[in-house]
C-alpha cells in the first residue's frame, strides 16, 4: 500500500467503522408503531379499535424508507465488519408517568373534540397535530372553544412525542415518533373524521 493509499484508506476505514456504530442505533419503527397504536386507540376510545383494521394504502413515508435503507446498510456493514454490534431488539416504553398523564389528558379531551372532528371542522393533519380545517362547519359561538381545544390538544401531542423519545433515551427520535403517530392517527381515525394524506389532501374516513 502506498503512502497515498494509506492516507486516504485509513480515514475511509475509520469512517466506515464509525458509520456502522451510528447506523446501529436506528429508530425502532415497528415498536414505535405498536406503541402509537396502543395510545391512539386508548385516546380515541373503543370505536377506534374497529376502525384501525385496514392499514391505509399510501406508500410508506420517506422517513420510513430511509430507516429501512439505513437498516439494510447497517446489515450489509455488519456482515462486512465483524466488530459492528448487532442491532438489539428494541421496545418502546410508554409507561413513564409523564406519558400516562398526557394520555389521560388527551382521553379526557377526546369527547369534547369528537363533535368537531365529525363536523369536519377539525381534522388529523399529516404532521401529527390536529388542525382547524373548516371553522365555518361549527357555530360562531363554538369557534373559540374549538380553538382552545385544538391548542391544548396540540400542546399535549407535542409533549407526548417528546416524552416518548426522551423516555426511551433518544430525544433525537422525536421527529420519527411524530411521523409514526401522524400515520397511526390517520389509520385509526373514526368513521366520519377528516384526515390529511402525506401529500396534503383531505379525505373523510
Amino acid at each position: 500500500m502506498t503512502m497515498m493509499q494509506r492516507m486516504i484508506g485509513w480515514p475511509l476505514m475509520a469512517l466506515v467503522l464509525a458509520s456502522c456504530v451510528t447506523i446501529n442505533i436506528y429508530f425502532p419503527e415497528a415498536a414505535a408503531e405498536e406503541a402509537a397504536r396502543t395510545i391512539v386507540r386508548d385516546v380515541l376510545g373503543k370505536e377506534g379499535e374497529s376502525n384501525g383494521q385496514a392499514p391505509e394504502q399510501d406508500k410508506p413515508q420517506s422517513s420510513v424508507q430511509n430507516t429501512q435503507l439505513l437498516l439494510i446498510a447497517a446489515r450489509v456493514l455488519d456482515a462486512l465488519v465483524p466488530s459492528a454490534h448487532a442491532a438489539a431488539p428494541v421496545n418502546i416504553d410508554i409507561s413513564s408517568p409523564a406519558i400516562k398523564r398526557l394520555r389521560a389528558s388527551m382521553s379526557r379531551r377526546q369527547s369534547q373534540l369528537d363533535p368537531f372532528y365529525r363536523a369536519g371542522a377539525v381534522g388529523f393533519a399529516n404532521n401529527g397535530n390536529v388542525t382547524i380545517r373548516d371553522a365555518s362547519a361549527v357555530g360562531l359561538r363554538d369557534r373559540g372553544k374549538m380553538k382552545k381545544l385544538v391548542a391544548d390538544e396540540n400542546r399535549d401531542r407535542a409533549a407526548l412525542y417528546r416524552e416518548i423519545a426522551r423516555a426511551n433515551g433518544h430525544p433525537e427520535w422525536e421527529a420519527d415518533v411524530r411521523n409514526t403517530f401522524a400515520r397511526v392517527w390517520r389509520e385509526e381515525a373514526r368513521g366520519g373524521y377528516w384526515v390529511q394524506s402525506p401529500q396534503g389532501s383531505w379525505n373523510r374516513k
Partner: protein, 684 residues
C-alpha cells in the same frame, strides 16, 4: 344614482338644441324624432318625442331606444316616458304624474312613477317612486334651487348582496358571502362641484357574512346606524353612530354576542384625502361591562394602520372582559383558563404607529388559574410604561399569591419599566411559611421569543413544618434558608445558580443546579443535584414512619431529573459520615424495613433470639440507588461475596443487612417504600 337621474332629466326634458318637425291637426301636436344625440356625458339613440295639446294641458310621450354613458355600468334600453297632463307655462313646465319604463338598465327592468315641477334650469324638482334597486323599491326626490341641488332617497329593504359597491367592498375585504337587509334614509346636498353634505341613517337586519376560512363571520346582526358628513374643500368631516343590538360576530379569535351585550360606537372626525388619513377627534365604544373605550385616533387609510391614538379603557368587570376579549387572545398560553374578578382602567397612547405610553390601574383584582396552577388575591396595581425616558414608578400590591400548593403572603412590589425592560425599585419581601423570601433583583425583558426574566433571592427562616404540611408531605421540622444569587427564565426554561440550603433534621441539605424546562407544558422537566450533610437519622426516620435508626446521614443525589414531577432518573448515595458524633443504633423494625426494601421480602428477623433485642449497633449504613425510567439499580457497601451491605453491623449481636438483588423495577421499589410508610412492619 342622483347624477344619472339628473343627467337623464337634462336630456329628456330640456331639448334646447334639437331641430323639430311639427304636424298640425285639430289639436296641436309636436313630434320630434332624433336619430342620434351625442353629448360629452353620453349618447342617445333614436329619440321620439310627442307633445300633444289637450285642452289646457299637454300630453307628453317620449321614447328612446338606448341611452349610454360612461357613468352607466350598462346602457338604458327602451326607455319610455309618459305624462298625461303636462302643464306648460313657458319656460315653466310641470307633470304631476309621469311614468318611466325601462326594458333594461344597470338596475334591471324599471317602472318608475315620477313627478316634475320645472320652473327653470336653476329651479326644478323631480320626485320618483318605485325605482327598483337591490331588491327594493326606492323613492326619492331631486331638487335644484339656484346652484344647489338636494337629493333625498328612502329605501326600506335593500338587499346587501345586491348593492354593487358594498358587495365589492366586502369582497375586497375577503368576505365573499355577505347577506342582509338594509334600510336607508339618504339626504344629500351639493352643487356643481359635488356633494357638500350627506346624511344616511337606517337599520341593518339579518346581516351575515363569512370569509372562506370562517375566521371572520357574522350571523343575524341587527344594527342601527346614522352618518352625517360635510365636505369642506375636499375635506370630509362628520360623525357616525352605530348600535349593534342583536346577532353574533366572530372575528378570530373573539366572539361577540350583541344580544347579551349590545355595542354602541360613536365617532366624530374628519377625512383628509391628500394624506389619506382619518382623524377621529372623538371616538367612544361602549360594550357595557366588557369594555368602554374613548379617545382620539388617527388612522392611515392607505396602509390600514393606526397612526396616532390616545385611548382610555374602562374595564368595570374583568370577569366579563376576560371571558369575551382576553381569554380568546390568550388561547395556547398558560393564561387561557382563568377566573378573574375586579376592575381596571387603562390609558394607551400611540404616535406615528409606535406605542409611546401605557398606564394601567387595577383595583381589587382576584385571579385564579382554574387548573390550580396559580392564584393571586387582592391585587392592586398602578403600572406605568413610557416608550422614551424614565417611566413613573409602578406598584403592584397583593394580599396573597399561590403557586401550586405554595402560599405566599401579602407584599408590595415597587418597580420601574424602561422599554421592554422591567426592574425592581426596592427589594420585594414576601412572607412565606413563617419566614420570608426577599427578592433583591427581578428583571423582565420581553423579547420576540418570549420573556427573558432574571431574579436573585434570599430565603430565610421558612418553617419546614408549615411547608411540609402545605405540600402534604410527611411533617418535617427544621427551616429553609438559601440564596439564589442568579436565576434566569428564558425560552420556557428556568435556570437557577447558587445553592438553596435547607436546614432540617439537625443537618443541612443543599439543592443546586436547579433547572426547570417546559414549565407550561403538561410534562415539565426539573433537573437538580442534592447534597445531604449530617442529617440526624433518628429525626428523619421518625418523620417518615420508618423503623428508627440513630446516627447521622450524608448523601448525594446527582443527575436528578423529574418529568411531570415524577423521578425519571437519578443517581443517589446515602451513607454514614466518617466522623459521626452520634451513637449508631438501628431498631428491629428498621432492619425489617431495609431488608424489605432490598429484597421485597418481609420477616427477616424471624429468629426468637434476635427478637429479644430492641435495637442493634451498626458500623455504617449505605444505600445507593441509580434510577433510569423504570429500572433501578440498588447497591451499598461492597460485600466480599458479591452482594452489598445496606447495614454493616458491629458489636454483639451483630446484624448485617446484605442486599443481593441489584436490579429492580423502580415502580415496585416505590411500592415497597410506600407500603413501609403506610403500614410499617410488625416484627413477631
Amino acid at each position: 344614482m342622483y347624477r344619472t337621474i339628473f343627467f337623464l332629466s337634462l336630456f329628456l326634458l330640456v331639448p334646447q338644441s334639437l331641430a323639430a318637425s311639427v304636424d298640425e291637426s285639430s289639436n296641436l301636436t309636436l313630434e320630434l324624432v332624433v336619430g342620434q344625440l351625442e353629448h360629452e356625458q353620453g349618447t342617445i339613440e333614436k329619440l321620439q318625442l310627442s307633445l300633444a295639446a289637450e285642452d289646457d294641458t299637454w300630453r307628453l310621450q317620449a321614447r328612446v331606444d338606448e341611452v349610454s354613458s360612461p357613468e352607466l355600468e350598462k346602457p338604458l334600453k327602451d326607455l319610455q316616458l309618459e305624462c298625461e297632463h303636462v302643464r306648460i307655462d313657458w319656460p315653466a313646465l310641470a307633470c304631476e304624474k309621469a311614468s318611466l319604463r325601462l326594458a333594461d338598465s344597470p338596475w334591471g327592468r324599471q317602472e318608475v312613477d315620477a313627478a316634475l315641477d320645472w320652473r327653470s334650469a336653476q329651479d326644478w324638482q323631480l320626485s320618483f317612486s318605485g325605482l327598483k334597486y337591490a331588491g327594493d323599491k326606492v323613492g326619492g326626490q331631486v331638487a335644484m334651487a339656484g346652484e344647489t341641488w338636494q337629493l333625498q332617497v328612502k329605501a326600506g329593504a335593500l338587499q346587501v348582496q345586491r348593492i354593487v359597491p358594498l358587495r365589492q367592498a366586502l369582497r375586497d375585504a375577503g368576505l365573499e358571502s355577505a347577506t342582509g337587509v338594509l334600510s336607508a334614509d339618504v339626504s344629500a346636498q351639493g352643487d356643481s362641484t359635488g356633494v357638500q353634505t350627506l346624511k344616511v341613517a337606517g337599520t341593518a337586519r339579518r346581516l351575515a357574512w363569512s370569509d372562506a376560512e370562517g375566521l371572520q363571520a357574522a350571523e343575524n346582526l341587527r344594527a342601527n346606524y346614522a352618518v352625517k358628513s360635510k365636505n369642506t374643500d375636499g375635506h370630509w368631516s362628520g360623525n357616525l353612530q352605530l348600535r349593534l343590538n342583536s346577532g353574533e360576530l366572530y372575528s378570530d379569535p373573539v366572539f361577540l354576542d350583541f344580544k347579551a351585550q349590545p355595542l354602541n360606537l360613536t365617532l366624530r372626525g374628519a377625512y383628509q384625502p391628500a394624506s389619506k388619513r382619518l382623524r377621529l377627534d372623538q371616538f367612544s365604544l361602549d360594550a357595557g361591562k366588557v369594555m368602554q373605550a374613548n379617545g382620539k385616533l388617527v388612522l392611515d387609510t392607505k396602509r390600514l394602520k393606526l397612526r396616532d391614538a390616545a385611548v382610555q379603557l374602562k374595564l368595570s368587570d374583568l370577569d366579563k372582559t376576560y371571558a369575551v376579549l382576553l381569554q380568546p387572545l390568550l388561547i395556547g398560553t398558560g393564561l387561557d383558563d382563568l377566573e378573574v374578578l375586579g376592575s381596571a382602567e387603562a390609558r394607551v397612547a400611540l404616535k406615528a404607529g409606535e406605542l409611546v405610553s401605557a398606564d394601567l390601574q387595577a383595583r381589587q383584582v382576584d385571579m385564579a388559574d382554574l387548573n390550580g396552577g396559580f392564584a393571586g388575591l387582592g391585587i392592586e396595581a398602578d403600572v406605568h410604561w413610557r416608550g422614551v425616558g424614565e417611566s413613573p414608578a409602578s406598584r403592584i400590591d397583593f394580599e396573597n399569591v399561590q403557586l401550586g400548593k405554595l402560599d405566599f403572603g401579602a407584599s408590595r412590589m415597587r418597580f420601574n419599566t424602561r422599554g421592554t425592560y422591567f426592574y425592581l425599585l426596592e427589594p420585594l419581601v414576601i412572607p412565606f411559611y413563617e419566614g420570608r423570601v426577599v427578592v433583591n433583583d427581578l428583571t423582565w425583558l420581553s423579547t420576540e421569543s418570549g420573556p427573558d426574566a432574571g431574579f436573585s433571592l434570599l430565603v430565610s427562616d421558612v418553617s419546614l413544618q408549615a411547608l411540609s404540611r402545605a405540600m402534604e408531605w410527611p411533617e418535617m421540622s427544621g427551616a429553609i434558608d438559601g440564596e439564589i444569587p442568579r436565576a434566569r427564565y428564558a425560552g420556557e426554561e428556568l435556570r437557577v445558580d447558587g445553592d438553596i440550603e435547607i436546614r432540617a433534621f439537625d443537618g443541612r441539605m443543599l439543592l443546586r443546579g436547579l433547572r426547570l424546562q417546559q414549565l407550561t407544558s403538561a410534562a415539565p422537566v426539573l433537573e437538580a443535584e442534592m447534597e445531604l450533610r449530617r442529617l440526624d437519622l433518628a429525626k428523619l426516620t421518625k418523620t417518615f414512619s420508618f423503623g428508627r435508626i440513630r446516627g447521622r446521614l450524608n448523601g448525594e443525589v446527582n443527575d436528578l431529573q423529574l418529568v411531570a414531577w415524577e423521578p425519571n432518573r437519578f443517581e443517589a448515595r446515602f451513607y454514614s459520615p466518617e466522623d459521626d458524633d452520634l451513637p449508631h443504633k438501628i431498631s428491629q423494625r428498621a432492619v425489617e424495613d431495609l431488608t424489605e426494601l432490598g429484597n421485597g421480602v418481609p420477616g427477616a428477623l424471624a429468629s426468637p433470639f434476635l427478637r429479644f433485642f430492641e435495637e442493634f449497633s451498626y458500623d455504617r449504613v449505605e444505600l445507593k440507588v441509580a434510577q433510569r425510567g423504570d429500572r433501578a439499580r440498588i447497591g451499598g457497601i461492597p460485600h466480599e461475596n458479591g452482594g452489598y451491605y445496606l447495614v454493616k453491623g458491629s458489636g454483639i449481636p451483630r446484624i448485617d443487612v446484605i442486599g443481593r438483588n441489584r436490579d429492580v423495577a423502580w415502580s415496585s421499589l416505590l411500592a415497597r417504600l410506600k407500603s413501609i410508610r403506610a403500614d410499617g412492619i410488625a416484627v413477631e
